[in-house]
């Protein structure tokens, strides 16, 4: 209650400032020591005064990686926020209805099936084949789960969640089988990708993710009021004039698109979509008009921090970022379960 009395504008200024600081720090941090001064210089018009290898590290590795962290973190967080609102369950997460697993299976199929062309056309593989298959896998899974969970009386949340669990298991088996038949090289690609990594940031993937973020945030914000009403219950939202079937369908597909694209770009990074909406609601309450922008910023912030930890925890090697988010997120999820245990 005390937290929620902080004015929203003040909160946004604070989070934006923190995000800029963390993003800057993220460019300074890494296995190669580059001073803060040089890092700033590398981002300024005087970058060409720096040695070529330092310019290269800043422009080709650290800056794209930081930007990708910010954008992917924001997409994961707003998708999670919308998913929890849609299911009226603060424990729901994009992963939970099977979208991540379905997208993962799609990506894994692409990695194994097209491994022969991966050597010759790595770009085509990374920016077209894997993202497309991940997206298709995510979208198909969502449609399947959705049609399983929907009867003429509306969408049953329980059926949908359980269907998500089953389809998650099926996708897991599929990915397991692909691991079994994969060659060593495929296996390395698969496992690296499946744990989530932001190391492969390219300007094309940043562009793809940024366009996706802009579209999602705009469309989610346009449906924020309807989503608020949906928290009352489907019937109540209907009585307030909301076309609930249309709203749900739209939001489910948009969320699937967001998750599909992040999975294709950065692998399965869990728990950002769970933690961020929770923290956001503590700060602003469940009103999506303010929760969504705040979630986007906090998601960007959190994933950037997680990625920094991933980079420095075991230098000179680095951890997959999915491990870091799971270490933070899984106990958090258990804590939430523990708090809810009386009501389940």
């Amino acid at each position: 209650m005390l937290l929620r009395q902080i004015p929203f504008s003040l909160l946004m200024i604070f989070v934006i400032t923190l995000m800029v600081l963390v993003a800057t720090f993220s460019i300074v941090v890494g296995p190669m020591t580059i001073s803060i001064f040089d890092s700033f210089k590398g981002l300024s018009p005087w970058a060409n005064e720096l040695p070529a290898h330092i310019q290269l590290v800043i422009h080709q590795i650290r800056l794209p990686r930081t930007l990708l962290c910010l954008v992917v973190g924001a997409i994961l967080a707003i998708s999670g926020t919308v998913m929890q609102g849609l299911f009226r369950n603060p424990l729901a997460e994009p992963g939970i209805i099977g979208v991540s697993a379905g997208a993962g299976l799609g990506a894994a199929i692409a990695i194994v099936a097209f491994s022969s062309i991966a050597m010759q056309y790595p770009l085509l593989m990374n920016i077209a084949a894997v993202p497309l298959f991940a997206f298709l896998g995510g979208a198909l899974t969502t449609l399947l789960v959705y049609s399983l969970g929907t009867s003429k009386h509306g969408t049953s949340v329980a059926v949908m969640l359980l269907a998500g669990v089953a389809i998650g298991a099926l996708s897991g088996a599929g990915i397991g089988y692909l691991n079994f038949i994969a060659t060593d090289q495929m296996l390395r690609d698969l496992s690296l990708w499946s744990m989530g990594s932001l190391a492969g940031a390219t300007w094309s993937s940043i562009t793809l993710a940024s366009v996706c973020l802009a579209l999602l945030l705009t469309l989610f914000m346009r449906n924020a009021k309807g989503l608020n009403a949906l928290l009352l219950g489907e019937a109540e939202a209907g009585h307030l004039g909301v076309n609930t079937q249309k709203l749900k369908r739209r939001l489910i597909l948009l969320t699937a698109a967001g998750v599909g694209i992040t999975v294709s770009i950065a692998g399965m990074i869990g728990f950002i979509g769970l933690i961020v909406p929770h923290l956001g609601r503590m700060l602003t309450g469940p009103d999506h008009k303010v929760l969504l922008p705040l979630s986007a910023l906090m998601g960007a912030l959190l994933l950037t921090i997680a990625d920094m930890i991933a980079r420095v925890a075991v230098t000179p090697a680095e951890l997959p970022v999915g491990i870091v988010t799971a270490i933070i997120g899984a106990p958090f999820f258990l804590y939430l379960l523990f708090k809810q245990r009386g009501r389940m």
Partner: protein
């Protein structure tokens, strides 16, 4: 009766999982009246209310149709209908930590009020249901009765721009309330009807129904068993026949409505 029709339905059938819930109900709900739906558990009261509120669809029947203010349902768009027809559910599944004021503000959704007008309406409605002192409290932490009153304020907010076409539906609005708030809630309904609204209330308490209704409908086994003023509908024979429990009906000592005593 010169009262105008608010909702009319013809030949409503509802079958759920092979069980007949409503059997050929035709009904005209009039403006300016409090109409109360009574009947034993499972009589189909809530189902009828939900059909009238367009929440569930009647089992397909080519004869069945619903009109709101003499316009077929098909001619109303959702947003317009929401401004004129409000329903208070028996209970809400809201678990997210909105403040009381934010819950009431959700009722603004179908309206287009300025911030200032909206604040005014919200304050009025919070005051009306005696929840103004709770406005900054978190909804999930309220008692059942407080929650029910907050939702009433939300529905009243939703209907604040309804003009002379208002339907207020209340599904067991007093189930969680103490005696003073029971009468406060039903008085609000009574006042709205006196100003021309059509009010439909599902109740269990026969005496509250007798005190506040212009018209009482007794539903049983999917059919309307009695339809009339409290004196016409609430007769000892009818109540005993429908509820299978012996009662005695007397006149209230100081007012002109029946009082039902269980024996």
């Amino acid at each position: 009766m010169g009262l105008k029709s608010a909702i009319s339905c013809k030949h409503i059938h509802l079958t759920l999982a092979g069980k007949v819930i409503l059997n050929d109900i035709s009904l005209n709900i009039r403006q300016g009246e409090v109409t109360t739906l009574l009947g034993p558990n499972g009589a189909g009261k809530s189902s009828l209310l939900k059909i009238l509120a367009d929440e569930i669809k009647a089992t397909v029947n080519k004869d069945s149709e619903i009109h709101y203010f003499n316009e077929s349902k098909a001619n109303w768009n959702r947003g317009q209908l929401a401004k004129h027809v409000g329903i208070l559910p028996q209970q809400s599944s809201l678990t997210f930590a909105f403040t009381v004021r934010e819950v009431v503000e959700l009722g603004l959704l179908p309206l287009s009020l300025s911030r200032k007008q909206a604040d005014c309406v919200i304050n009025d409605m919070l005051e009306k249901v005696d929840t103004l002192h709770l406005e900054t409290r978190l909804y999930p932490l309220l008692s059942g009765g407080e929650k029910q009153r907050v939702h009433l304020a939300r529905v009243l907010t939703q209907l604040s721009e309804s003009g002379n076409k208002t339907v207020l539906m209340l599904d067991e609005p007093t189930s969680a309330l103490d005696i003073s708030h029971q009468h406060n809630t039903l008085s609000i309904a009574r006042n709205m009807a006196d100003k021309g609204a059509a009010v439909i209330i599902v109740l269990h308490d026969l005496n509250l129904a007798a005190q506040y209704s212009d018209r009482v409908l007794i539903l049983n086994e999917g059919k309307i068993q009695a339809d009339g003023t409290p004196w016409q509908a609430l007769t000892a024979e009818k109540i005993e026949q429908v509820y299978q429990h012996p009662v005695e009906v007397l006149k209230h000592p100081s007012a002109d409505y029946p009082v039902v005593y269980a024996i």
